[in-house]
């Protein structure tokens, strides 16, 4: 048993930290939608270092790096508040590598690897949130193209992305998860229309209306009607870099510093709450490491990842709520960190799989309990 990382891994971590020093004030983790040009430039700089394709196979321009290296990279990026891991280099690229054709590899992987091409996942719909298998956006095959009609919603960052990674129905309307396909859709294609929904953290989510959007068949990734398995696989690839503990550790550090600045460091109640939150943060770190450990052993990590998601997101909220409670009116001032964290963390238990769904995963797959009720 060993909780520490090796020398080579630590050396890489320090390289990452040195790189991130230039992005200290970026705050792209919370403000990507407002500072996208700088975030994109950072991704391109990371692309130059090969960091966006760290764990890709060498034949696709990757470094075959370990799960630990990937974890360290994105944990540091999260801790630095620089960005969230880009979906293009993760879910999209991994699926392309595994299921794409040689032509697709040649076309899409290089610009993803270099940080020039970015994707928005277009999964959820007004009537299909946690229950994706009920989605209705339809792609009708007409010769060598699909004609897509439907409405997607809650797409983060779509306003700045180049392509949609679109999950849509090619099977019958009752086919649930068995009739879905994945298409790459140019976000500037005729018939694609974005509507912003500003969110409480100062960012926005997007609604994507697709009206008779024509998508070449060669933009379909994987078999027709076969997307469900691909999606699950892709999700499984990313478990160790989603919800990195560095984000929560940074929350605690910022809040502890802020509380001290407010002159509350000697209040016994504040001291005790911060100690309890420190325990919670270390619990979250353990969940993150448990996911990593399972991943690097090639285990599915389904339960560990669900537990990590719940703990991570709940603790984000606990920290923010506690600090706003402790600090009184000063924590209400716009622009102070507690206020932002309180707003932003409300999203964490919803986005990326709700806590309700994740607890169900732990109950079913971890404890052998039954249904979804």
């Amino acid at each position: 048993m060993n909780f520490a990382f090796g020398r080579e891994e630590e050396a890489f971590r320090h390289e990452v930290r040195a790189f991130l020093a230039d992005y200290r004030d970026l705050d792209g983790f919370f403000r990507q939608g407002r500072v996208w040009p700088r975030v994109k430039a950072m991704f391109q700089a990371m692309g130059e270092r090969g960091w966006l394709s760290l764990a890709w196979p060498r034949e696709h321009g990757g470094s075959d790096a370990s799960a630990v290296m990937e974890f360290l990279l994105w944990d540091e990026v999260a801790y630095a508040r620089a960005a969230r891991n880009p979906l293009a280099a993760g879910i999209v690229a991994r699926t392309l590598i595994r299921h794409g054709s040689a032509e697709q590899h040649a076309r899409w992987l290089p610009p993803i690897r270099s940080g020039h091409l970015h994707f928005s996942l277009a999964y959820s719909e007004p009537e299909a949130g946690s229950d994706l298998a009920s989605l209705r956006t339809r792609a009708s095959r007409q010769g060598e193209r699909y004609v897509v009609n439907g409405r997607k919603i809650w797409q983060s960052y779509a306003q700045d992305m180049d392509c949609l990674w679109l999950l849509c129905r090619t099977g019958s309307s009752e086919s649930r998860g068995r009739g879905l396909s994945l298409l790459i859709v140019d976000i500037d294609a005729p018939g694609v229309q974005l509507t912003p929904h500003p969110t409480l953290d100062g960012e926005q989510l997007n609604e994507v209306l697709l009206e008779d959007v024509e998508v070449p068949v060669e933009n379909r990734v994987g078999p027709e009607d076969g997307a469900w398995a691909l999606m699950s696989e892709a999700l499984a690839d990313e478990r160790h870099i989603q919800f990195p503990p560095g984000r929560v550790r940074r929350d605690l550090e910022e809040m502890n510093a802020w509380v001290r600045e407010q002159g509350l460091a000697d209040d016994p109640h504040v001291v005790r709450r911060m100690a309890d939150l420190a325990v919670r943060v270390l619990e979250v770190e353990m969940h993150g490491l448990r996911v990593l450990d399972a991943m690097q052993k090639g285990l599915p990590a389904v339960v560990e990842a669900a537990a990590n998601k719940v703990a991570h997101s709940v603790v984000c909220q606990e920290i923010a709520r506690a600090v706003v409670d402790l600090a009184g009116p000063e924590a209400l001032v716009e622009g102070v960190r507690p206020s932002l964290l309180w707003r932003q963390s409300l999203w964490e238990t919803i986005g990326g799989g709700t806590s309700e769904v994740m607890r169900g995963v732990v109950a079913r797959k971890g404890l052998g309990l039954g249904g979804r009720a």
């Binding site: 009920s134 989510l205 706003v324 009116p329 001032v333 999203w347 919803i350 309700e356």
Partner: protein
Amino acid sequence: MSFDVSSDPPVDLPFDLAFDPGQQAIADAVARFCADRFDDDAVKQSTGAVPRDAWQELAGLGVLGVLTPEGEGGLLEAVAAMEALGRAVFPGPLAATFLATRVLADPERSRVAGGSVLVSVGSAGLWPFAEQAGVVLEIDDESVRRVHFASAPTPVDTLGGETWGRAPVVRDADLPDAAAGLVVYRTLLAAQLAAMGRRLVDDASAHAAVRKQFGRPIGDFQAVAHPLADCAMRLDAAATLARAAACYRDAGADAPSRRYAAAAHVSACQAGLDAAHVCHQVFGAVGITLEGPVFHVSRRIRQLASTAPGPDASRRVLTSCMNGEAAQ
């Protein structure tokens, strides 16, 4: 220690937790006013400054002056109004205004009750609605003090969407009747918070009853239904505590009114915040958009729950009640 109702002077009325017809009429009138003149869209747009027109109209209904001698009302009448205002998420320094009408004298009291002078109640240099306020009251421990700004306040945007201000103050005079004033303030904050929370819970329940996922309404899932039930229970308890505080205040029972007001305040802050968190969760993504049905309420709950004097001051009141009375 004793929280024993029976140690309080008995009032020979029948036990009854419903508003009397006059109180209910106030609640109904305020609810109608809000529905007609200040609906949800108006509430969402009302961040920033106090909407003076609506404020003036509310004063015109006699609502803000209910605690003045001319208003001839008691704290229960103010609670009845505040429950309706909270449910409608009506903006502005409501509890502060009622406090001022309790501790100020005429002619200022009438101006505050008439809606022409706005009140800022705060402490430690951060003042709600500072630029618009004509009366500034500082709460310091359990006293209420008249102060004025030493220099023009610097505007500060807040989480609740209200524009507050930062300024040093010059202290004028401690006001008499601070204890009764703070009972008014805490009770009405509690009534407002509990009503806002209950509004959210009812909206979220209505949503959960029709929103389907996995083939059935999400309200069928205990992971959705039970947290909403817990919120409703706690909010009802908080609202009832506020009513109890008002009832004892109006009966002239100082000690119990102080105790119940403090408990109502702590209870409503916690229950309101819990409701905000749960309802964001129940509404999912739509609940975190600015245009959605939750944030314009939850941000005000968060703001009111942090407004000075916060729940910690009320906890101190409860501690002194508990252990002071234990020594008797």
